[in-house]
Symmetry: C2
Subunit: 425 residues, 2 copies
């Protein structure tokens, strides 16, 4: 296994590329969606994972990485966490996907209702996108209205209602009941509501604005309380899409971190440390409407991911994982800014430290960021140049320090390239 | 553990009902979707699974059942099949949900392209419904047309485009691009195509008609070849939704069983023996369009279900599982019809023996079927009165015989109730 802690031999990706070349023949795009290498810097990143443990993983070329994407969110207690895996194994030994749910479904639902302040009930599925669709259907069933307001650039999964025109197969008809506002535009929301009074079933939004290729934008002071007030007054169901940020800011939902009360919250990614599950929790008033939505899937009652979710949530509470994750993210962000400063290349960090995004100040096309993240990756820490990162409770101070060493070496390359004006990776 | 092989003490469901009463407080409907007890006969069936192995499972009251629903399809080699579970465990030990797919994704895709005659490429997701939506988006992207034709009463998941009005949250706007035909109505399809010439992107259908609360209807002679011909002539993408029947009729897709060639096939349920995965395979001509659809999910690249799928498909091929499943279904159907005949209550079986449906001849409201299935269930074999059943390769002749004993005892109760005119369970 290659490890770059003590030398500066750069990783190469021959075996990744070999596998990918086989893949492109028989899988559309080879690797698709958010994991597509075209979303990162093709050729400069690993394409496959062979082994993962804690906050580290190994690619087919034997290169080891300290991981700052955490499977794009699902990993939160470390890959192959023994506590979660033992709970999952015990349930698997009993039963997983059968004709009925297992008793653990009731336990998990009870635990989540206790854990999450706004939750009076819980519904489980597989994808985050299952839950955002379920939430808008519930809002429509509850209000007997049709329109849903979304934030421009927000991400709620891949269903046609939330995928932009221009992507394959999406039609204008998919959006006839969707209205859009800009992030943080309370006034715009108020205007929209006035011009569609009595037509809007729900407003769905992430807790803060985290789009790709751009800084993350936190809610402006008064934004969420203003949104909440208007929704209550106008009978609009307030839906928090906490699929990405959920359980990294507050165990009770990211709304608790920002101080507001939605009617429905969608969770997925981190809730079972990588086991496939999603959930929608809601207030009592919505429960009747929620039960009128016909929504089901072949694996939604599978018991193993429920046992894993219960173990993950309990372990996070027991170890105060969120404080740890936040601390690790803060160390990393401070360290990166300090390195940037020392080398005269200002690094801008945005978003909460547990789900941060970085870029260089003077880098409108993210070319420097692409060079920097690729050079860090080739030294043993996986950095994504266009997407927010994720920290986990498996990261330790030594991991962060090792990564800062990779960053130190990488920024020298960036500086060299910057001087030469060679800004493309 | 209760077992009713040697006595006629009937199962009761106190602990199931106790758990369910806790569940109804915190989960919409308590148990929702296709597993909701309201879809069966409430109070007369188990509500939870505690343990499952082979073709049997145990409920919270300690009652053991020979299972004829197979988790509504996913179980095909037996619960906790050691070959599948070992492959899954080996992959889990390495990595599951990470930043990238595992090499097994490429192996699985290559294996499926070899196994399935029409497949030139494969795409993976989690739900069957992910794939039916992906297929219609691919059809639209390929044809640059909007309309999709579906069969009335067909089931393709819970996305708004394929869920009827009347269900919570569904709007008429969700169906503006959906056209419908009756099952087996080739002439109706031809007329529809003529009146929407150049507008229809795709036709999606299950390989035969299996709705709930009714006999299954096989394709009429010439139906599928007629559909295929029209689709080819009119440039309509022919989509086979093989989520339910896939790998129970033919390892190459149920179209091979019925003798036609679709452009896309959607699989899920049985492909990994209960591990959560779905797939869409397609012809080369569609691959470019397929890669233009933006479609992804947090757990879609998870490696464990892919390793489980590869092991499941190989094990099914190695053991010729389909022949076995078909033989077990035939034994059961023959046995049930014989019992009905002997007791003067004609039993009608429909659909393929591996995915059969039964009802009594003189029973338009399925009351006799409800009594029969409930009485069989209370004796130790889980029969569903309204939904097609599923057989598996884990069923043995002795299991079928034991079940026929349960059926023999149960039909006597039906006969008694029939005489008394007490036709409600």
């Amino acid at each position: 296994m290659n490890s770059n802690s003590n030398n500066d031999k750069l990783y190469t990706f021959e075996k990744s590329l070999e596998l990918f070349s086989r893949a492109t023949k028989i899988i559309p795009g080879g690797i698709y969606g958010h994991m597509s290498p075209t979303v990162s810097v093709p050729g400069a990143v690993p394409y496959y994972t062979v082994k993962a443990k804690g906050c580290r993983y190994t690619d087919p070329d034997g290169n080891e990485y300290i991981d700052y994407m955490c499977a794009y969110g699902p990993m939160i207690l470390g890959y192959n966490n023994p506590v979660v895996d033992e709970a999952a194994a015990n349930q698997r030994e009993m039963a997983n996907t059968t004709n009925h749910p297992a008793p653990v479904m009731v336990e998990l639902a009870e635990y989540m209702v206790d854990l999450i302040p706004i939750a009076d009930w819980v519904f489980f599925a597989k994808n985050g996108g299952d839950m955002t669709t379920y939430a808008i259907l519930t809002a429509r069933a509850h209000t007997n209205r049709k329109k849903i307001v979304t934030v421009k650039g927000g991400y709620h999964g891949v269903a046609p209602w939330c995928t932009s025109l221009g992507h394959g197969g999406i039609t204008p008809e998919d959006h006839v009941n969707i209205l859009q506002v800009e992030w943080n535009d309370l006034e715009g929301f108020e205007k929209l509501v006035k011009s569609h009074r009595g037509e809007i079933a729900g407003f769905i939004s992430m807790p803060y604005h985290h789009i790709t290729f751009a800084d993350q934008v936190m809610p402006a002071p008064g934004y969420w309380s203003g949104i909440e007030k208007i929704c209550r007054e106008e009978g609009i169901v307030l839906i928090l899409d906490d699929v990405r940020a959920g359980f990294r800011l507050n165990m009770g939902g990211s709304n608790e971190y920002f101080g507001f009360k939605p009617d429905l919250i969608c969770f997925s990614k981190a809730m079972a440390n990588g086991y496939p599950i999603s959930a929608c929790v809601g207030r009592k008033e919505l429960m009747n409407a929620a039960s009128k939505v016909f929504f089901t899937g072949s694996f939604w009652m599978s018991a193993v991911p429920m046992a894993a979710a219960l173990a993950t949530l309990k372990e996070m509470v027991r170890t105060d994982a969120i404080t740890k994750i936040n601390r690790m993210g803060t160390l990393l962000m401070n360290g990166l800014r300090e390195i940037g400063e020392r080398h005269g290349l200002e690094i801008i960090t945005s978003g909460p430290p547990s789900i941060p995004y970085i870029r260089f100040a003077d880098d409108p096309n993210l070319y420097l960021n692409q060079i920097f993240c690729s050079e860090v990756t080739r030294r043993g820490s996986f950095f994504h140049p266009h997407h927010n990162w994720f920290l986990s409770a498996a990261h330790e101070e030594e991991d962060i320090n090792e990564t800062l060493n990779h960053a130190e070496a990488a920024i020298k390359v960036v500086k060299e390239r910057y001087k030469q004006g060679a800004l493309c990776y």
